[in-house]
Point group: C2
Chain length 330, copies 2
């Protein structure tokens, strides 16, 4: 049997076979293997962060990852930028009838590998199967819980604080765009999809760390606009400081995209007190995922909203994304 | 604008409007309203239970509920039968482009109402929109966490223990079957979809409480077969003791279904020490959701597997569900 059948989602014999022969081959947490309705977990503190995301990226396989890797990294990153140490993830699969078992195995093994490398546990799971034409291969939901170590909030952000990005932006959006094969371009851009916990959790010790966010849907522009609204202050961004790969610029020029609105899956925006900017950058640059970190902006009380100081000396107002040129990028 | 558009899932302006104008109108948890990547939560203990389920029921609206109610009840019930007090739920929505905003509002308001009545909090959420034909209206994932109050496990189950069901079985499966309108029958069967925490958590004080499970996919038969495998003992069920409504029997006869394999969404199977059977029944019967509770079987070491003592005096061996006659019932 090489394809998923409706009966794999019935809760009966085939469901059990799928779980035992495929899922538990890679996911080996004892509580998960007990196949009870819920898993018993131990935390070191009752103060937790919780998040959830569904991943419907199209195509489900792309240079630099697949929806499995994305679903683990995305939820790890949401917890981490909230000041928490990610501990446990749930995994909810919705699979289309006829989906290849080989592809499913690739996805599950990637999930297991990514989780292991990031030091988190897939604690509980669920699988549903829907008829052909009622899904797009596979949709994955992960919810995650982590232990809060550092409270972060837009309300801590103050004028004078600096805005840091942890590396090149727009890679994920462009990788997905190219993977759709709607354009006949052979340009080697890989998604930046990565778990950011080992990069960012060392920053929790920095007293001037105010706020972090991973700029996924809507990109750097949308996230800074939201920060501006929630903090009540203006954000000034410097175009010439924002790291964008030449290949990404090239594709953006060709297709009329703006890198500032493209999704990232392995980058964080960070606001720190100016006095801690240097030490923050030093910590980030020591890590492979943060070596291209840069200060790209600052918080100001001289205006509201987000203004981009362009290379040619002008200023551009940034707003929330209106209509994504690339839906289903995560 | 009366229908969901792709841009509602872009993470930009329309996403924000949807969240603020619709979701936050009903879901009013402060941390959720802060629109951060994760919510900060306080538990009273670091020993937690975690579970997840995706809900893809077809049709998404049926007598007795909708997928929203199901998604809250199902996850509450998974935590409760694990011996935990359900506290926080995450909510992940995958919505099909073109889905009615009115239907979405019905679903969200039902989620809010069900959560409130059950005393749990929708703590964090995510919304994705997929193209028309890549979903079946709406799919919902909920993950839940609860505080462990009573450790339950099939390994505590011993010969002589009794098996209790908390009421009539098969209602949900039949309600879904009839709601599909493939059969021209006007029979008033409503789904039993209900949150079981207020019914079952009072049982946590009973020392002889061993194990609980809500017999959803695969029904009472599949769940007891799994209990038998995991405990290592046989389960004897008495057909004449199992509560099945006349209407459910009638539809089963017409369509060739077996009530023992039909899904339930508001029932629990409970194994208790025989000495505590009476007190357990008394507690259950005091609650509207448990008034038809009955002892339907017992655990034995005289055989393995599950045997049903039939009305006419014979015995039938029960096995895991092979192929669900009714896929996507939850």
């Amino acid at each position: 049997m090489e394809k998923i059948e409706i009966a794999h989602g019935s809760g009966g014999k085939l469901t059990r076979e799928l779980i035992e022969n495929l899922f538990l081959k890679y996911l080996d947490f004892e509580e998960l293997k007990s196949l009870q309705d819920a898993s018993y977990l131990k935390l070191s503190s009752p103060n937790i962060a919780m998040t959830t995301d569904s991943y419907v990226v199209k195509p489900f396989k792309f240079p630099g990852g697949n929806t499995g890797k994305l679903s683990v990294c995305g939820t790890i990153n949401d917890l981490t930028v909230s000041g928490a140490i990610p501990k446990y993830l749930s995994l909810g699969l919705i699979i289309e009838e006829g989906f290849s078992l080989k592809e499913l195995e690739d996805i599950i093994s990637t999930i297991a590998k990514t989780a292991k490398e990031a030091g988190i546990v897939i604690a509980t799971g669920d699988t549903k199967v829907v008829e052909s034409g009622k899904c797009d291969g596979i949709y994955i939901n992960t919810a995650g819980i982590g232990e809060i170590k550092k409270e972060l909030s837009p309300k801590f952000v103050k004028p004078g604080d600096v805005v840091i990005v942890t590396g090149y932006i727009g890679d994920h959006g462009i990788a997905i765009s190219l993977a759709r094969e709607e354009f006949d371009m052979e340009i080697p851009v890989k998604s930046d999809c990565a778990p950011l916990n080992t990069l960012l959790t060392p920053l929790f010790d920095i007293s001037g760390l105010k706020w972090m966010r991973d700029p996924t849907r809507g990109g750097v522009a949308t996230v800074t606009v939201e920060l501006s609204e929630m903090s009540g202050y203006g954000i000034k961004l410097f175009e010439d400081k924002i790291p964008v790969r030449e290949e990404v610029k090239f594709v953006c020029d060709m297709l009329g995209y703006d890198p500032l609105y493209l999704a990232n899956e392995g980058k964080a925006l960070i606001v720190v007190d100016r006095k801690d900017a240097e030490s923050t950058l030093n910590i980030l640059k020591e890590h492979p995922l943060g070596k291209d970190s840069a200060i790209i902006g600052e918080v100001t009380d001289s205006f509201k909203g987000v203004r981009l100081k362009t290379r040619i000396g002008g200023e551009r107002l940034l707003d929330l994304l209106e209509d994504d040129p690339l839906p289903r990028i995560c």
